[in-house]
Structures are given as structure tokens and as C-alpha cells.
């Protein structure tokens, strides 16, 4: 037992192998959060260089990828901090992602979910029954393709806030700190991201799945 451990910890790291084994994963992870391939490549490079220097602390404990992702998370956070220092926001962009077209524009029911033009078909623009469980959906690669496609049109900062909150599970306070925004701005951003994503995956996944 102790023999294997020594063997692993004295083994020289092969960063070239890291690139081959984990490069794509780390890069996609970073692109999904930073939404810029150039920036993503930079943080992956910073991550692997930091990993090289800290290799003695790793000692082959746990999975190599988990260890690298841990370092990458910190590098991504640093990158967000640098970006937020460069530009501060006073107003949240992306109001169109609240999809006002789904609601009644006039009349007594103004501001309520709109019924579609042909009520005899029971059509409406409100949320449809999805008829699936999160667990079942989460296992399908195609769902995640739709999900990341739906995030694309959102402004960078809104998509990043959403990912940090809903995928990474950071707290509101942590995200405000990293992105340099107020909690009220964060809530507006999350509302817009959720409103858009909900509608987009409903149309492109749930309704499309049923039509098959």
C-alpha cells in the first residue's frame, strides 16, 4: 500500500498527457462559463501551469480530473474578477429575454399569460406541462445540447451569473462578489436568464420531443 503511494508521488507529472486526457473537458468547462474561447484557453493554460507547480501536493490522491477542475474553478473566478474591475454596470441589459410577447398586451387581462390566436385549439402561450423528471432529462446528452444552445443568445454576464448560480450552486453573495454587482442586479439577471431558458427549452426540447 505504502509502496504504491510512493511510486505515484515520485512519478514526474506529464503535463502533455494532461492536455490529451483532460484538455477538452477543461476547455469546454471554461468556455461554458466564460463564453470566450480565447479566455478559456488562457485559463486552462494557467490551470495546468499551476497544477504543475503544485503537483507535489496532489500526490495522486483522488482523481486527477477532479483536482484539475478544482484549480480551474479558482482561475475562472479570478478571470471574472478581472473582467468586473474593468467595467462596472449601472443597468442590467437583456430586457427582451423576459419575452413580453407571451403576455396579453391590452385588455382586462393585460400582463397575464396570453392565449394563442386560436382558442378553439386550446392553444396558449403559458408554460406547458413538461411531463418528465429532472433526473430523466439530466441523463440525455441531447437535452444538454439544447440547454447550452439556449444560453447562447443571452448577454455574457447574464449567462455567467446563471451558470454560477444554477450549475455551480454558488450563493448570491459569492456571485455578487465575483461579478462585482449588487444583489438586486443579480436577481434581475437571474430572472431574465430563467425566463428565457425556460421558454427556450420548452419549445426546443419538451414540445419538440412530443412532436416526434
Amino acid at each position: 500500500m505504502s509502496e504504491t503511494k510512493t511510486a505515484v508521488s515520485t512519478q514526474a507529472p506529464d503535463p502533455g498527457l494532461w492536455v490529451d486526457r483532460h484538455g477538452d473537458y477543461l476547455f469546454k468547462y471554461a468556455v461554458f462559463r466564460l463564453r470566450d474561447q480565447g479566455l478559456a484557453e488562457d485559463v486552462v493554460q494557467e490551470t495546468l501551469l499551476a497544477a504543475l507547480q503544485a503537483y507535489g501536493k496532489f500526490e495522486g490522491r483522488g482523481a486527477e480530473r477532479t483536482w484539475l477542475v478544482g484549480i480551474l474553478k479558482h482561475k475562472i473566478t479570478d478571470c471574472f474578477r478581472r473582467m468586473s474591475r474593468e467595467r462596472t454596470i449601472t443597468e442590467v441589459e437583456g430586457e427582451e429575454f423576459e419575452h413580453q410577447e407571451l403576455f396579453m398586451q391590452t385588455g382586462e387581462w393585460v400582463g397575464h399569460w396570453a392565449s394563442a390566436a386560436e382558442p378553439e385549439k386550446c392553444g396558449h402561450l403559458g408554460p406547458h406541462e413538461w411531463g418528465a423528471t429532472p433526473e430523466a432529462v439530466a441523463e440525455q446528452n441531447e437535452f444538454w445540447m439544447v440547454f447550452s444552445q439556449c444560453l447562447q443568445p443571452l448577454p455574457q454576464r447574464i449567462a455567467s451569473a446563471f451558470t454560477l448560480r444554477e450549475v455551480d450552486g454558488l450563493t448570491s453573495e459569492e456571485i455578487c462578489d465575483v461579478l462585482g454587482i449588487t444583489v438586486n442586479n443579480l436577481w434581475v439577471m437571474l430572472h431574465r436568464a430563467r425566463a428565457h431558458l425556460r421558454r427556450c427549452i420548452e419549445v426546443n426540447w419538451f414540445t419538440a420531443e412530443r412532436a416526434k
Binding site: V44, W113, L190
Partner: protein, 96 residues
């Protein structure tokens, strides 16, 4: 139907309530908000379903989103050969 309309006219419309519905995932509603939402949900199944779907998205995202980096996808491309080589040479000079 008439009671619904009477109630709906006295409460904010869906467009004003949706930001608060989203905040249910961030904080606890105040007592006032809880009352308004309960009354609103009495006649608006859509908003109630909307809240369920926001929770659905969170649950799915926290359990399975790593599929995004595992599966090949046109949305999040893999490293190009050039990028791969750039990384390797940066690491070579970093390890010397």
C-alpha cells in the same frame, strides 16, 4: 369565473409577479408575498407551473450539467489542434 376576475383585478399581473417567483430560488418570500402568491396561484396555473419549472431546471442543472463537457457538441467545441499544441509548448517551457 367572476370571483377569479375580481381577485385578478386586485392583484399584480403575472409579468410583475414573475421576478418574485424567480426570487423564490434565492430567498424566502415575505409574508405579504406568500399571501399574494397563494391567491394568484388560485386562478393562475401557469405561474404555479412556471415556479415548478424553474426548480426543475435547477435540479437538472445541478445533477447532470457535466454532460455538457463530456459529449461532443457544436455549441461548446473541443480544443483545436493548434490550441492543444500551444498548451503543450507553454507547459514544456513552464516545467523547465
Amino acid at each position: 369565473m367572476e370571483a377569479t376576475f375580481w381577485l385578478a383585478r386586485r392583484l399584480p399581473p403575472c409579468t410583475e409577479l414573475l421576478p418574485i417567483i424567480s426570487q423564490a430560488l434565492e430567498r424566502e418570500w415575505t409574508l405579504r408575498e406568500r399571501v399574494v402568491m397563494r391567491l394568484h396561484f388560485l386562478y393562475c396555473d401557469f405561474c404555479e407551473r412556471y415556479l415548478k419549472q424553474l426548480r426543475f431546471m435547477r435540479e437538472a442543472a445541478r445533477t447532470g450539467a457535466d454532460k455538457i463537457y463530456e459529449a461532443p457538441s457544436p455549441v461548446t467545441p473541443a480544443l483545436s489542434t493548434e490550441a492543444r499544441n500551444r498548451l503543450k509548448s507553454a507547459l514544456r517551457s513552464g516545467s523547465e
